[in-house]
Amino acid sequence: MHTELPSEEDYISDLPQSIVETILTKLPLRDAVRTSILSSKWRYKWAALTQLEFDDKCVSGTYDRTLAETNLVNFVTRFLFLHDGPIHRFSLSTAYLQSSPDVDQWLLFLSRKDVKDLVLELGEGEWFRAPSCLFAFKKLVRLELVRCELDPPLSFKGFLNLKHLNLQQVLIAPDTVENLISSCTLLESLTLSYFDSLELTIRAPNLKYLILEGEFKDICLENTPMLVAISVAMYMTDDIAEHFGQSSSCNFDKFLGGVPSLQRLIGHIYFTKYMSIGNTLRKTPTPYRQLKVIELYQVSFEDMKEIMVVLRLILNAPNLQELQISGSSNSSSASEAPDLDFWEKECPRDCTFERLKMVKMTDMSGVPHEMGFIKLLLGNSPVLEIMSITPSVYVTEGRLNLLIELLRFRRASAEAELIFVQDQV
């Protein structure tokens, strides 16, 4: 214990290793290694780092790709060889290095080091095929893989400590990925990106956060009672669309049937279209009492079914506070549309959005259904504070008419501010 400065005025070398590690982790790895040259005390401080992040900046810039690849391999290999101590986080993110036996070796080395956090993102060429030692990382809490091929051995029982899983552009058989998810019982956060034509059933009793992006034929959330936030970006190909045409099940129920704790729902691109397949307006088995924020993008207000999806959501979310809808920019500003009398006749009039405070409508084309929807919201939201409307950039004329019509709508909330956003740049 010393209360005065360390000897010889050296300010920093005698700080505890934990602080030195905190400082070194905030440096790019290369600079951290170079501290070994500062003094005898600093020689091996870098070698005890537990959070390692390798990327293409570790090797000096060169235009020769093979040289860069070799340099990076050498750097990582030597670093690992000289490293001394546990490794908690290993992250490798490179565009140069692709599938290589060196990566297999590194993984084997790391599997003995109780790594808790592994990120592997290799280059675009030949996808890396994960060796079996990847499945021996027993202590893994966080796994992120980009561009690789996963084929777990039959004896693999799951990552029992895994809480965060992020797979992007990963080649894996559908039931394998389902088994992987369900075998990681502690899983709290799941991200699947760029999977093609996947039919997926998710059973994850502790899952809280779900992010999906890609072409999905079918998503069924079978056992996800703890889900708090969902974000889906659904792409569609022609054969998926065809598949939907023939489908008889209700996607809405399959997807949102069992998520009572849901607080936040975000849908992009074809999500509402996906949800509209087989949908009806009947009440959901349990209302979404926790649902506070809904964000839906690319909603086509010309398709009555998509509007029904939106309605069904907001009618079953009694505590909804924030709603953000973005129209589909494909809309033509037709003044005639089918089912225009829906808003007068069929829409439940006595609904009240008791907690709705903020509504933001963007990419509005002024089509009748949009107007009907806005009118519904304005008229049934007693605590509304902001209603923000942003017209679509493709609507050049007719904005004034849009505005005039908006102004006429009756407002249930005296506090409601109607904000018409012009000229977003």
């Binding site: 214990m1 010393h2 209360t3 400065l5 010889e8 005025e9 050296d10 300010y11 920093i12 070398s13 700080l15 505890p16 934990s18 602080i19 905190t22 400082i23 070194l24 905030k26 440096l27 790019p28 600079d31 290694v33 170079r34 501290t35 070994s36 040259i37 500062l38 003094s39 005898s40 005390k41 600093w42 020689r43 090797v59 000096s60 340099n71 050498n74 750097f75 030597r78 670093f79 000289l82």
Partner: protein
């Protein structure tokens, strides 16, 4: 010591008492102090509510850093501030001299105030990133106590720059010179003789001789012996040869084993160990010769040596099968520089390899 605010009846704040290692006691508003987890725990344990039972702060917290920490806490514990405001405060807050910043980091760490540790660490990291070693040493008053060659040891050669490797050799040579000067003062015993011999045997074997390696030994310089001994001490994990070379019998056995080239696997096994040893030692070997002769080396020959060394290093690093081919087929052509030792030493310098076989003269 800070004076408490005039306590108006309508704003009764509670205060707690903190004591730093130097004995001085301060009074602080409770809501500010509990922003530090350490202090919070102590309060829950029942300490700090009166002057007679102040909370003893860890030794790394002195009054100056304590007051800085409390300023930080006082600002950040107010919930209504925007992120922008907080960031702006932080940026101004960390403007202090480096010494103070390091002390502050240490103090914040001992009080478990993680956001402040992160903030100060980031500032310190910014002072290190992208700077040259001299600049960093200057900033933090770090003593420059590594020797030149230590800085350039292969250990640090992570980026595999061939120039650094060459520099390594030069510095290693210097290192040897330094060591040798030291060794001159302490006389070594003849016993090392044996070690050297075995290694030389192997060296000459590799360079084309078969089995007659035993008469290699002319009286050696003590310098070389001791150096060799050091080298071998350094190389134990690498080379099984050095382990077995502790007695004459073993040494010879090994060289015998090696000399029967016919048994491929055994040879390969041994040879690979040897080549590892050689790789480690190649720089030392190179100037062993030089030292024999003192400094009257022809610059031309010196250059030759350097080239040979580099070449050899390159070959060592190439594929093993190719190397075996080479070694077995050539045998004749190389390595005058590897080869050490002659009583007079002069013939070691020969650029053509024939020197090797004839070295017994």
């Amino acid at each position: 010591m800070s004076e408490p605010d005039v306590i108006k009846p309508e704003m009764m704040k509670s205060y707690i008492w903190l004591q730093t290692a130097d004995g001085s006691i301060q009074q602080v508003e409770q809501e500010v102090a509990i922003f530090c987890p350490f202090i919070c725990h102590e309060i829950h344990a029942g300490v700090g509510s009166s002057k007679t039972y102040p909370i003893s702060l860890p030794a790394r917290v002195n009054p100056v850093t304590l007051s800085l920490i409390l300023d930080y806490c006082r600002f950040h514990q107010v919930p209504g501030r925007s992120n922008k405001e907080r960031k702006s405060f932080d940026e101004k807050f960390i403007r202090m001299d480096t010494n103070r910043l390091c002390e502050l980091t240490s103090a914040a760490d001992s009080l478990q105030l993680k956001p402040l540790v992160d903030l100060t660490s980031r500032a310190l990291a910014r002072m290190i990133e992208g700077k040259t070693p001299e600049e960093i040493r200057e900033t933090f008053h770090i003593p420059d106590d590594l020797t030149e060659e230590e800085k350039l040891e292969p250990l640090k050669n992570i980026t595999d720059d061939p120039r650094i490797r060459l520099l390594n050799r030069l510095y290693a040579r210097k290192r040897k010179e330094l060591k040798e000067k030291e060794k001159l003062k302490s006389v070594e015993v003849e016993a090392e003789h044996v070690d050297d011999r075995s290694v030389d045997d192997l060296l000459s074997f590799i360079n084309g001789e078969n089995g007659d390696s035993k008469e290699v030994k002319a009286p050696k310089n003590k310098k070389k012996k001791s150096r060799r001994k050091d080298q071998q001490k350094n190389a134990p994990p690498v080379c099984t040869v050095s382990d077995t070379s502790s007695s004459p019998n073993n040494a010879i056995k090994v060289s015998n084993g090696v000399s029967s080239v016919g048994h491929d696997d055994k040879v390969k096994g041994r040879l690979s160990n040897i080549s590892d040893l050689l790789k480690f030692q190649d720089s030392e070997d190179e100037f062993d010769d030089c030292d024999d002769i003192g400094d009257e080396i022809d610059p031309e020959i010196k250059e030759q040596i350097d080239r040979e060394v580099e070449d050899f290093a390159r070959r060592l690093n190439s594929d093993w099968p190719e190397r075996v081919q080479e070694l077995l087929s050539l045998g004749q052509d190389r390595r005058p520089s590897l080869y050490t030792v002659n009583g007079n030493g002069s013939s070691a310098k020969r650029s053509s390899s024939t020197g090797l076989e004839k070295h017994e003269k």
